[in-house]
Symmetry: C2
Subunit: 146 residues, 2 copies
DNA sequence: TCGCTACAGTTATACTATATAACTAATTTG
DNA sequence: CAAATTAGTTATATAGTATAACTGTAGCGA
């Protein structure tokens, strides 16, 4: 049997990076379980959301807004396009540019996606101790991310 | 030139997972820059720290304490052993077990490591707005990580 | 004691995320 | 117009993480 061990975590106990990382993994874990059926990853979620609220943006603009390298963004859009959620439309005025839009199916998908997400987010808020605690957390982590 | 674009981030603006992720990346970025010379990754840091404060733990115990799978932990210890920072000692009473210790060089390294880490952590605390803000953040993220 | 089971560490492997360089096609600029 | 720049793409490399299977060792019950 495993010994009953008490571990001294030293500065890890309240190291910002370490605790932030563990928390983020827990939140993404819950996110992943929430969207397991849809096979939707956090990046996919954010991309659909940005396109829904900013139709017609260029690929590179969406990528940059989310901090995703444009090279890595290609496969993400490929995946969403293959699922008929997102559409690339070549710009008339600049034929290098791919403007991004949700398809009708994508719009519908986004609605359900947001419902699922809301349930996930509500669990996180409950864990935190309510909306005020959530607001306080967001305020604090935003300072870290500049 | 890139158009001047205002992006609607919708619920991403205060989504716990998204903001937590961005903040964690920023913190790890600073950590990485702090330890670029030593080539020390966050995982290495935490392993050295745990061994320093809990000498003689089994590999699997250190791995579990840090949420690292034992299979992936092997390469981490290999690396630290190759740098003569950590020593595997076969247990006398159970020859399957590798007990972990810092070498004398490892002890010395840990001291310098903690000095570097402290500077990094102080930057994070300053960004947050002081030690109280840090404490509040730790309190909140700990709730998310259970 | 023998044989089964469990365990520690390891190896191999795969998948995801991320980063960089180089390429194509189109556009802009000197 | 030629050169430089830009958008998107492809190829590739690395890091992190996850699982299965293997080796050697220990413990346990018949």
């Amino acid at each position: 049997m495993g010994r009953r061990i008490i571990i001294n975590y030293s500065v890890l106990s309240d190291a910002v990076g370490y605790r932030l990382r563990r928390a983020q993994l827990a939140v993404f874990q819950d996110f992943g379980e929430s969207f397991a059926a849809e096979g939707l990853r956090p990046a996919d979620f954010s991309v659909v959301l940005i396109i829904k609220h900013n139709p017609g943006l260029k690929q590179s603009e969406v990528a940059e807004a989310l901090g995703i390298q444009r090279a890595n963004f290609v496969a993400i859009v490929d995946g969403l396009e293959a699922r008929d959620l997102v559409e690339r439309r070549k710009s008339e005025t600049d034929r290098r540019v791919q403007a991004l839009f949700l398809t009708p199916l994508g719009e519908q998908f986004a609605e359900n996606m947001l419902t699922t997400w809301k349930a996930h987010e509500d669990r996180m808020i409950e864990k935190l101790g309510g909306p005020e605690a959530r607001d306080e957390l967001i305020r604090l982590v935003n300072r870290l991310a500049e």
